[in-house]
């Protein structure tokens, strides 16, 4: 058993693709048309092109409960998932320069430093640096 794909719920797949590739630096891996405007749309880390894929999944548009869950997490400021970075401060500087909004600025918490950004698709995403 292997981890191949993890999904992030997004309200608009094209907006999500633009953000995850244009701002966060991920690379598109698969883009397969499905029904209507839906796509099987995945991105991967530039550093790990054969690593786990992130599925940008339009579930909030199709299942009310998915939208409700996403909104509840967002309103509480809870990250939907998290990504590792080498240097949270430097990543924070680069992303704020690109206009990315953060709900938590770089903050030390024991043996990690974290920051939390808004992915513009309904989610908070946490960045983590091990100290």
């Amino acid at each position: 058993m292997r981890v191949k794909v993890i999904s992030i719920p997004v309200q608009d797949q094209q907006t999500a693709l633009d953000f995850y590739t244009g701002k966060l630096g991920f690379v598109k891996k698969h883009d397969v048309p499905l029904t209507g405007n839906d796509r099987w749309l995945t991105v991967v880390s530039k550093e790990e092109p054969d690593g786990a894929e992130i599925l940008l999944e339009p579930s909030p548009n199709h299942l009310e409960a998915a939208g409700t869950y996403q909104k509840a997490l967002y309103n509480a400021g809870i990250p939907y998932t998290q990504f590792d970075v080498d240097d949270v401060d430097e990543t924070y500087r680069q992303l704020t320069a690109l206009g990315v909004a953060f709900s938590v600025t770089p903050t030390e918490m024991g043996t990690v430093k974290i920051a939390v950004l808004d992915d513009t698709c309904g989610n908070h995403i946490q960045l983590v640096e091990m100290l």
Binding site: A76, I78, P79, S103, V104, M109, G110, T111, V116, M130
Partner: protein
């Protein structure tokens, strides 16, 4: 302040209030990251962390969930993956990341990744060439 920000503050106060302990384990981890390819023992790590050997063992396990030796092995295996992907031989990789014996390196590598180093390298090579798809 959001619920999550409140939780960050609560967890920080409850779990990470001892700055001395934190600095000891963070210094130790940084020392391992900087010197993993050398022969390291607990005494050296304790000196780097400015604490005693047995105190360091307890603290490191508490804050990182693994012992310094387990973290050192993890670091060396992670680095060996990078070396193998670059095409370095298994033996050269073994010594360059700090292991002293190719056979124990192969055993540990298989335990951690599921494949012996040579098989791992072959798989990487096949995946990176068009004919290997």
């Amino acid at each position: 302040m959001t619920f999550y920000q409140q939780e960050i503050n609560r967890i920080r106060e409850n779990c990470y209030s001892n700055e001395t302990h934190l600095m000891a384990v963070i210094r130790t981890r940084r020392f391992i990251n900087a010197h993993f390819e050398k022969e390291l023992n607990l005494q050296q790590l304790a000196q780097a962390g400015l604490t005693s050997k047995f105190h360091l063992l307890r603290l490191f396990k508490r804050y990182y969930g693994q012992t310094p030796k387990q973290y050192l092995t993890h670091k060396r295996i992670a680095q060996s993956i990078i070396c193998l992907k670059k095409g370095m031989t298994v033996t050269d990789t073994c010594f360059s990341v700090g292991f002293e014996c190719p056979s124990s390196f192969s055993t540990l590598f298989k335990q951690k990744t599921g494949l012996p180093p040579a098989a791992f390298q072959k798989k990487q090579f096949l995946q990176s060439t068009p004919d290997g798809v």
